[in-house]
Symmetry: C2
Subunit: 293 residues, 2 copies
């Protein structure tokens, strides 16, 4: 077994996807197979010369707490992203929380600060709203429906309420969860905030922006989160699901000629916010690179 020459060692290093000094980030979720963060972040890091990886963390609800605690014990782990269903349980692993994370009641980001303190934030809603605006969707005065009041739904609801909308109606398979979110947001917004119910068929004839923030559409054969046939012709239908890119909901909306807004917009626009939170924004040079995922 020959010793390698200095030249071949150098090639080995340049070629290596990891080495002893690689900094690690994890995205924890279940299921994980559809999650795009590892490929998007790891590719960006590599392209910008950052010796770091975003790794998939396939962890069910029973094991996620021990997994988070364990990963915090690895000194070269700098941060974590949380996706379904871990955004709520992850919050207790933060030593300090941003104001919006406290309001939303869940986190999607956790970082190790230079002083060793673990700080949590939630940028799902900020990314979603930035994505809508970049896609030309006007929110001022809009009547909005939000279906799904889980981790990402709550974050979007809180962000929407600060955008000058006229009305927000929130729905969930659990009516009590929808009412709780509406009651919380209402205290902090000048918009009319209501909880709808899925028991009847929601009247959506005056809705300008209809958003799915539920998991419906992730799997083939899922029911539509809401019917699109009563939406007005100017309505925008938005989905948070990234894969498939065209969910059954977006297909149905597109077939009716409505504008559709893809789930990847949220990730693309949350990424600069998250990169800044992780201290990676300078390395990524957002002005020069578009995030394609």
């Amino acid at each position: 077994m020959s010793e390698s020459s200095d030249a071949s060692k150098e090639r080995l290093r340049l070629d290596a996807p990891a080495d002893a000094l690689t900094r690690l980030y994890f995205i924890f979720g279940s299921p994980i197979a559809h999650v795009r963060a590892p490929v998007v972040w790891s590719t960006l890091m590599k392209r910008h010369g950052v010796n770091a990886l975003m790794l998939p963390g396939d962890t069910d609800a029973d094991r996620v707490d021990i997994a988070i605690a364990g990963v915090k014990g690895i000194a070269n782990v700098d941060g974590m992203i949380f996706t379904m269903p871990h955004k709520f349980t992850a919050m207790k692993h933060a030593d300090v929380l941003s104001a919006r994370a406290r309001r939303i009641g869940s986190i999607n980001l956790l970082r190790r600060r230079a002083d060793g303190v673990w700080e949590g934030d939630n940028v799902d809603g900020a990314g979603f709203v930035d994505g809508l605006r970049a896609d030309g969707v006007r929110l001022e005065g809009a009547r909005v429906t939000l279906h799904g009041c889980g981790g990402v739904g709550r974050s979007i609801g809180w962000s929407l309420a600060a955008q000058g909308i006229a009305r927000l109606t929130v729905f969930d398979v659990d009516d009590a969860r929808a009412r709780a979110l509406a009651d919380a947001i209402r205290q902090d917004s000048r918009a009319r905030i209501e909880a709808g119910t899925l028991a009847g068929r929601p009247e959506m004839g005056d809705v300008g922006v209809a958003i799915n923030a539920s998991p419906l559409g992730l799997h083939a054969g899922d029911a539509l989160p809401f019917p699109v046939d009563r939406l007005p012709p100017h309505a925008v239908v938005a989905d948070v699901i990234m894969d498939p890119r065209m969910t059954a909901l977006l297909h149905a909306a597109s077939a009716r000629g409505l504008k559709v807004h893809h789930g990847r917009n949220m990730m693309n626009h949350a990424m600069p916010v998250a990169a800044s939170f992780f201290g990676l924004d300078d390395a990524f040079d957002w002005n020069g690179a578009s995030v394609q995922g």
Copy 2:
């Protein structure tokens, strides 16, 4: 922010150092910066089309137990390697142990079996002995000294005792640890097994193979683990330290004209054994590829 085309998505995937389906392995150690396993294993995996990474796990003794337990909770983690100082504490995280790991009293490998059971093994000694033999060092009838009775030293001691050597003398900064290892090995070997002491200057005039398995040499300015000036001209001086490749010990031995055996031989020869343990040997195709690290 444009949507990527199918072609650019494909490029992104091919270029990506990680994606949602990447299987993970960790090497836990402290310090970690000199450890070569991440670059060597991750490069091999990539070259052979295995979607897996060997990641550095920089973890001190206070946190390694919670880190191991946490990493076991991540379903796409398939195995771990342990280096200094974690080979002993890691053993309690194995549900089952190989016979040699039980004898040695420490593990350097842990894998998740298909049935979910975590199995521990110790292949340091096997790799070291294979490396010596591949380097042309004859062990039959040899008089051997082994300096350092930690995790790797114990593993080497047990493996040496089964090689038909005439005599093995083990040393440690902790004399009691050397005596305990000698007493344990003696019961299972036909060789003469002794514990030496570092208090006097060891008589090494008849030693054929002198091995450093202590951490001395990892840092510039470390004392030599043993003097080389009394070794006979035919003696081989072997080090387990991989970085620097030429330790002060090997420099001194080389200056005297003695044959030196580099630490990387152990890793190179332990790798096929470890890859087989991790179920990666078919993918790596050892016959076609030499391991250069």
